[in-house]
Each structure stands twice: as C-alpha cells, then as structure tokens.
Amino acid sequence: MTIAIVGLCRAGPSRAAEPPPAASPDDTSGKSEAVAPSDKTSDIEDSALEGLLGMSLEDKLGTTEAVSRTNESVLRAPATITTLDSKQIRLSGATTVPEVLRFVPGVAVYRSAANNYIVALRGTGGLSGNNVVLLIDGIAINSPLDGNVSWDLIPLHVEDIERIEVVRGPVSPTYGANAYTGVINIVTRTSVGLTPSYAARIRAGADLAGNPIGSVSGRFMHVEKKLEFKWFMNAEHDGTSPRPVVSTTGLHEHETPADRFSLMSALSYIPTKQSRVSVEVGQAWSRRSSMEDLVLDSVPQAQRLIFGRALYELRELRGPLTSARFWLQGTSQRITSQKDEDIGLSYDGTHSLRGIAGTDLVFALHDTLSAMVGGQGSLERMDASYLHPNANDAVRGAYGFYGGIKASPLSSLDVILTGRGDMAPISAKLEYSYRASAIYHTDSWALRLTGASAFRAPSYVEAAGRFVDPTSRVILLEGFNSIGAPRNTSVELGATFSPLTTLTVSPTVYLSRLTNLMVEDFESLVRRTFRNDREPRWYTGGELEASWRVTDTVSLLPSFSILHWLDTSTPFETNVGVPEQNSRYSGGLRVQGVFGNDRWGYGVGAMVVSPRNYNIRAGVPVVILSKRIPTSAYLTAMIERQLASAPSVWISLRLSAGIPTNVPESPQPLASPLGQSAILGFQVRTD
C-alpha cells in the first residue's frame, strides 16, 4: 500500500479503495460488518461543529482572569470584555498591539510617530496615556512615574500573543490605581499540544516614501514532564517616522525612526494539576520619538524596562480555600533622551524601581457563595530631575487590599460585590473603589448590570513635579501634594446573545461620571500646575461588537461605538474628558478567514472615526495646540500562504494605510500621518 502524505511522503498515488457492500442485518457470520453509503448524500461540511458539539454561549466565549484576577467565564464576568485570540491577531495584519486595538469598540488609538501611540478608553482621549492599565501575563508595565503606557515596551512580537483581553469600564476594584477606564491584558503564547513548538519570522517592507520597516522575531516553547519553558524575542525597526522640519521652538530638524528589542522568558514547574510555580523575566528596550504629554518635541528617546515575577498558584482545591496565588514582582524603568537646553523638559535620566508582593485568595463558603480577598504591598523609588528635591530619590511604600463576594441565588443569576482600598505612594492618601454586578445568564444569552467606581492616582509629575528652566530660572512645572485622584463612576448594561450558532453579538450601553479631573492650571501662561476640576462630567455611550463565522473560510467582525456628552455648557480645562477631543462615532469591520485546506489565510479591515478638535495648552514650556483632526480611516489587509508543510513555512504580505494620507491622527504638533506601508514576511512555525 502506498499513501501520499503531504510533508511526509509524496511517493505514489492516493489509495482508492472501494467501500465493501453493505452487510445484511442477518449476516453475523463474517469477521467484519460493514455500513455502506446510501445513495442520497449531503456534505457534512455544511453543519456547524459548534452546533454538533452542543456548545453553549458560555463554552464558546471561554474563560478569563482579566476582570477579577480569578478564572471565570467571559459570559459571567462582571465587566465588558473583548477577547482577541491569536488567529484574529495574526489575520488582522497589525504589526503592533495598538494597531490590533483599533478595531475594539470603545478604544481610541492615535499614533504620533512610529511606535508612539496613545490608547484611550471610553471618552478619555487626549494627550495623556495613563488612563488604562497594561498587563503582560498579569504584570502591570505602566510607568511608575506617571502611569503612562509605553506600547513600544511590550516585550514580545504581536504574533507571540495568545490573546488580548480588553476590559472596559472601572476595574480599580481588582487592580487598584489607574484601572479607572479599563485594563488591557496580554497573554503570552502557551505550548498546548505540540512540544517543542516554535516560530521564527523575518519581515521587511517600506512606506510610500521608501522609509524601511522590518523585524526579526521568534518564540520557543518546550514542555518536559512537569516543566514548561517559554522564550520570546523581538527586534524591530520602523523608519516610517515623522520628519519634522521645524520643532516647536523653531530650531531643530530631526528624524526619529523607531527601534526596539525585547527578550522574555518564563519557566514553570507544575507538580500537580492544582499547583504551579513560575518565574517570568523580561526586558524591553525601545527608542522612538519623544513626543508625549509634557515633551512635545521630537527627539530620540530611549527606554529600558526590566521586569520579573515569581508566582505560586494553587487551583481547584477541595477545601474552603479553592484557589490561592502568591507573587513577588519587580520592575525597573530607565529613560534616556537626547536633550537640548532649549527644548524645555526632557525625561532624560528618569529611573524608577518598584517591588511588589501580593496575594489573591478565593474561598468557597457555600455551594452558591464564594469570597475573594487579597492585597499587595510595594516599595518604590523614583529618580527624576524634574521632581521636587524633597520628593526625588526617596523610597516610598504603598499598599492595597480588596475583598468581594460572589453569590448565585439562582442557577442562572450571579451577584458579585467587590471593594478595594489603595494608598498611593506619592500622595499617601487612601482611595476606595467598588463594583456591584448582577449577571443573568442562559445557554444562549446573558444580561449584565454593573455599577462601579474607580480612580487614577495622581502621578509623580502632578503631585511632586518641579521643573526649573535652566536658563531663565523660571519654574515651568510644579505639582502639589494636595492634588486629588480623578475618579470614574459608571453604570453599564451589557448583553451577549447568540442568534445563530456561529454568531455572537454583544451590545453595551453605559453612563459615566468623571470627577476630580486634572486641570492644566496655567497661572502665568508659562507655569504649568495642576488642580482638580470640581465640576463633574457626565457622558453616555454605546458599544456594539459581533463575531459571525459565516463559513469555515469567512468570519465577519463588525464593531461600532458612540459617545455622547450630557453637559457641555461649562468650559472644559481638563486633560481628559473633553468632548471635542473624543470621536463621537467610530465603526469598523474586519473580514478574516483561512481556506485551501488552511494553506491560505487572509484578513481585511476598515475602521472609520469621526472628527476631533483640540484647543489645549500642553508641553513644558507651554504651547497652545489648536488642531482639528478630520474624519479618518484606517485600512489594513493581509494575505498569507503556506509554502511548505514540514516544516511549516509561510509567506505573507501586509498592507496598511491611513486616510486622509497627509493628516496626522494625533494632535501632537510634530506628529506624522499614518502613511501607507507594505511588508513582506517569511515565517517558520509549528501550528
């Protein structure tokens, strides 16, 4: 017998055996009994596997730890969550995480320069990037300095991500400070199935101006008995950067291409199904344009992030204690920047160190009642030349603690209450956050009502900043320790339902109230200080997303969001929560799929956002920004083809474009347009 197997043996023709005749029901004498085909046939490919498996909506949506830091089903989680899996990420054609996030409703992504993004959730668009918490496998990598997220410091390639979980709404009851509009959790690839498993990629391309873009990246994962090892590497160059001719001070000409290099590895020991000990370490180095909230100029700025975590987990225990987690975590972040005397404030020389120890415990009090308690303590040191001498280079402590209960009075109803207290290191004030949720769920739909309040801790800059102009000796920036924490209180009603086996729809409406927002208080036009806005800001919004697997080869992923401000009569001086700085509408559609026996993959997407207006003072020294960003669109397309199956070698082409082509989507004065780029890639991977 000769069998042709792709990638294993190509010798010989396929075997073509005829089915034996049907056995008579009375015939029991033969060694074998046969069931032969009938004359009337239909294709089994026409039936949905999800339907045959009788999968409930809860089965299809899977589980998450991003909302409550304990494993729970997405359907019954007490917050709005969007999950993007590895296949969706790969077929999105995106080369960075923010580009993937563009298609998530309620998420606004603005690119200032190559690898320099601001990601804002639900009405917090502006120049600040500190309104959301970014986690890598549960490790927060926000800057201890100001809570900002540097998206270029994500220590792995976008295709080495197992899934991205975007939780929208106040999540401080779980994560403490800064998770006041949401949390984005990135889960690294896991080695389920094959071992060892690997991927190696090389990509190169350019924009229309001929500026180069390229990357080399890969992963290796191995499971040996009770040990699991993961390793990730990524090196990227993005030359599709801004080319500012004149700086804000009118003196400079700079080009700031983006480069980054990262390594991350994890070693886990899994002695039993119920326990796991793991150590994760990573480092990311990045250099890109300096453009940020305080630094409007575009000079090369480099950052290095080093982080590590040791984690001991116990799961599915039988006693009252059903799961436990103990962890030690450390991060170090250093910024170096090209600095000229006449550009004002620079982050050059900033260095932060932070160590955290924490625990999360879950107790089963009754069949229908469980309790969650946990807490963390931390020590941190901040060294920055623009902080007040009394605040600079001092070691500070902070702590947080939380408790919650989950009750299921009916088999289809969950009620979850959580409260948390946190003391911020710089303000030394105790802030509280809470969440109350009721979730009614069936096999095919769920309805969720959640009320929550969360906060953002004042940053070092806002509470202890002091920057003196070296030439004039004028104080250009000053913070105050009495500053309060901005707060987001929100009520939302969300639903998830599945009208077809292959279609899931999730609409959400919410009402939010922002209080204590930071006001950029320019007393003398040149001195930047801060105070809290006592005027609450009310707004409401809606988000809609759907996932429809039309066939095995075509999936449609539409999304839409709308934002409406309820009170626009009082002037807005704040740096977030300004109606004009947020697009009122945004909508997008992705079409993805694989075909040709999974040898081809494709994805096309379009996202359109309505106009924004900026009329703000920003930077140190202060600059008035007045800019209108028109309706803009982001278009992306990718196609990949398997060239060989053993090993699995792929070639891919990625195209992306921003429209209009000559208008940047960021209000930064030196921001560059998105441009158009094409990237050709080769990849070897285990599937």
Partner: protein
Amino acid sequence: MGPSVFRSRLQPAAMAGLIMLFLTGAKGDSTKKRPAVILGRVLSYELTLEDRVGDSVGIAVVYRRDDQTSEANADDWIQGLAELSSVKVKDRRIFAFKVPYAVGEMSSAVDKGADVLLVADGLHAESPSIAQFARSRHLLTMGNAVSYLDTDLTLCVTEEGEKPKIFINLKIAHLEGIRFGSRLLELATLIR
C-alpha cells in the same frame, strides 16, 4: 479548496438543524450516533485527508474478539456510523466495518480501504501495537476512551454528561502524519 466552499450557506443551517433534530429525536437507538456524526465532521477538518485517502473514507472499528463488552462497544459505533452513510466528507463517502484485533485482520482491513482505526474498549494493552501499525501506514487512530490518548492514539470523541467533547493528541497526530485545521483545534481539548 473545493467549489463547495462558496456555495449558498442557507443549506448549512438547514443541515445542522436536521442533524441536531435526528440526533435528539433518535437518541437512544445508539449511544454513538452523536459521536459518530461529530467524527464525520472532525474528518472534514483533517487537512491531510485528501492526500491519504481515496474516493471514500473507511473506518475500521477494532475490538477484542473474545470480549463481549468490547464487541458491544464496536457494534454501538457501527450503528452510530451508519448515520454517516448519507453524508459526504470532502466529497467522499464514509463506510465503516468492524474487525477483531489481530495484526493480520488489521492489514486486511487496510486492504479493504480502512483510513481510520477506531479502537473500541478493552484494547488498552494492545493500543501501543495498534498505534505502531497505524503510524507506519499513516492511518488516523481514534479511541473510544480519552485514556487511549495518553500515549498511543490521536483522537477521541466522547460525551461528558450530555455534552460531546473532542480530544486530540497533536503529538501523536504528527507521528501518524495527520494535521487538523485550526478551527477544529480551537474547539477541541488538546492533550499535552
């Protein structure tokens, strides 16, 4: 990719409904009807199927000759697989027959067109040699119980309570020269 991929998708919904209807309506006739239909659908996600089978897909249900429980289990599968006589997988008809365990019998089953070896209960001790036999011939192996997948076989379609589940050992699948589509791997439980 066959032209059927682009055909109207009104038919699939009707087909799925029909299959579910007869599965729920006819449940009790055979305990393996639902797993058998799912097996048929699983085969449609096998990327290597067209390269390794001919004009039809043969499923040989292997059982222990002197074990009534094993043979009854095989009979259940044969009865369940009878439901697949009216469907096609990648334009190929499916047929099933049972064979008692013995190397000679399995070789003859291959000659009769077996592309899948479905191992019934009672053959745990023999599963390593069945696995060896299958790997050298690039046959897909399937076990009636998940425990077969620990070291020897590739696939198991079983019911946990009322819910059917698919288990796949990818490592063994590769040893057999079998690859599955990404959609199936998303829905199956992968054995490490």
